[in-house]
């Protein structure tokens, strides 16, 4: 099924999504990968109140999506360079905390840990995969991009981006269904 989804997310709408749904995302997404996650995580751990924890993050993550991305530099006349997903599992250590604080969507590629899947279910979130290695194609769906934090990290800085009809597939839905497990089984069964 092909669906259009707006970000910031409407959690009620996300509940309807199922692993295997093909979606087109539009709205705001924030890029963050290894180094930015580590920094956010440490900043939150160092803060002592709910309020301070929230303030320690460079943007309000509630109902938002993080795109695990470190783009190539934008050539003249381009919004961004090549911009495909990086492997999500490297962010697994930091993710449950962010989901518990209100982060709602993640876009990446590859497997997630059982802890991330539990946090996805606990908070009614979704993990989407974009096509790994399709950075040129995906860059066409990013219509604006601006570094908003951690500029010193270069490609790993946090960017606020506007995406339009960004293609992705639901890998882990809010019930905890995991497409990486079911898709391969389904394919093998279809060949029998």
């Amino acid at each position: 099924m092909n669906k259009k989804i707006q970000i910031p997310f409407d959690k009620e709408e996300l509940k309807e999504l199922r692993a295997g749904d093909y979606v087109y995302l539009s709205g705001t997404v924030y890029s963050a990968r290894d180094a930015a996650h580590k920094r956010m995580y440490e900043a939150v751990l160092a803060a002592d109140s709910e309020e301070a924890k929230r303030a320690a993050l460079p943007f309000d993550i509630r109902n938002q999506a993080i795109y695990y991305l470190g783009p190539t530099p934008a050539p003249e006349g381009h919004v961004i360079g090549s911009a495909g997903p990086t492997t999500a599992s490297r962010m697994d250590k930091y993710t449950p905390m962010l989901l518990d604080m209100g982060l709602t969507g993640m876009i990446g590629k590859g497997k997630r840990s059982p802890e991330v899947r539990e946090a996805v279910v606990r908070n009614g979130c979704v993990y989407f995969a974009a096509t790994g290695g399709a950075g040129a194609l995906l860059s066409k769906c990013i219509v604006a991009s601006e570094v908003i934090a951690y500029d010193d990290l270069g490609t790993e800085a946090i960017r606020k981006m506007e995406v339009r009809d960004f293609p992705a597939v639901v890998v882990i839905d809010s019930l905890g269904n995991n497409l990486y497990e079911t898709a391969v089984e389904d394919y093998l069964a279809s060949r029998k």
Partner: protein
């Protein structure tokens, strides 16, 4: 004795860095197009079609095929009768990388210290493997390597009694472990023999072989085919979303080894298997 100036080398390296990242070599492109034609997994087919569209956009707009433009890995064959003048050869190659990654708008993905992790800002240093060969030519092969797939690579210290069966099982184990993380369809480089570190180097070198090449030794060529078949029966498919194309190719490079061992390295590469060679 033939002379070559390092300025010529730097310029050639710069060009290769850019070219390798903007377009796949024709053998890789053909391989992906063929896979898209025969794929029967619904989501898998969708992924392959988008990879073709991606290659076309990359070429037309001069955008890197993938945002992970890799660590710059080189295999350099230096003719022993060649005289190199100017800067140091390693520095000349690094200078080429510096210029290529800057002028080609490629990503700088290298940190200076594995723990302190400050980006070097110019994608250097490169990883350079030198070989001294007869003659007076200089052959440089670049293989920019992304780390989504590199992270899923493995070394297995197999024993002689493990035989072909052990090799098949180990490569399959590495592929299953990689699953969707290494951006399938994969290009699987295998190093067999030598010792611990040579096996890994051979595995990387195997990735620079043409997709349609076959190993000159019949028993190794047969093993390449068998392992590819086994991998493609896993159903992992493009993007890990189900399909018959989990790998595009398996290449094995071998070297003599010790009576007690049979080292095996699996260097995982994605469909963005980039390589370019030039002889100066």
């Amino acid at each position: 004795m033939r002379n070559i100036h390092t300025d010529v080398i730097t310029e050639a390296v710069k060009k290769m860095c850019i070219e390798a990242n903007l377009a796949l070599a024709p053998d890789m492109e053909a391989c992906i197009r063929h896979a898209a034609e025969v794929e029967d997994g619904a989501l898998g087919k969708k992924i392959l079609d988008s990879l073709i569209e991606n290659m076309e956009i990359a070429k037309e707009e001069s955008i890197p095929i993938c945002q992970d433009t890799g660590m710059a890995v080189f295999f350099v064959e230096v003719g022993q009768d060649l005289h190199i003048e100017g800067a140091g050869l390693t520095e000349a190659i690094n200078e080429g990388v510096r210029h290529g990654y800057r002028d080609g708008y490629l990503r700088k993905s290298v940190v200076a210290d594995p723990l302190l992790r400050t980006n070097t800002g110019d994608n250097t240093p490169a990883i350079i493997h030198y070989d001294i060969v007869p003659g007076d030519a200089l052959t440089i092969t670049i293989a920019p390597k992304g780390f989504g797939s590199e992270n899923m690579s493995k070394v297995y210290m197999l024993k002689p009694a493990d035989g072909e069966e052990g090799i098949r099982a180990s490569v399959l184990d590495a592929v299953k472990n990689a699953g969707p993380n290494a951006c399938p369809p994969l290009f699987v480089g295998v190093g067999l023999g030598g010792d611990f570190e040579l096996a890994a180097k051979l595995a990387k070198k195997a990735l620079t072989r043409d997709a349609d090449s076959r190993h000159p030794d019949a028993h190794i060529a047969k093993l390449e085919d068998e392992i590819l078949d086994l991998i493609n029966q896993t159903g992992i498919g493009p993007g890990g979303l189900g399909g018959k194309t989990t790998a595009l190719s398996v290449k094995i490079e071998t070297y003599p080894t010790h009576i007690a061992g049979m080292p095996l390295a699996v260097n995982m590469c994605c469909h963005v298997n980039r390589h370019r060679s030039v002889t100066l």
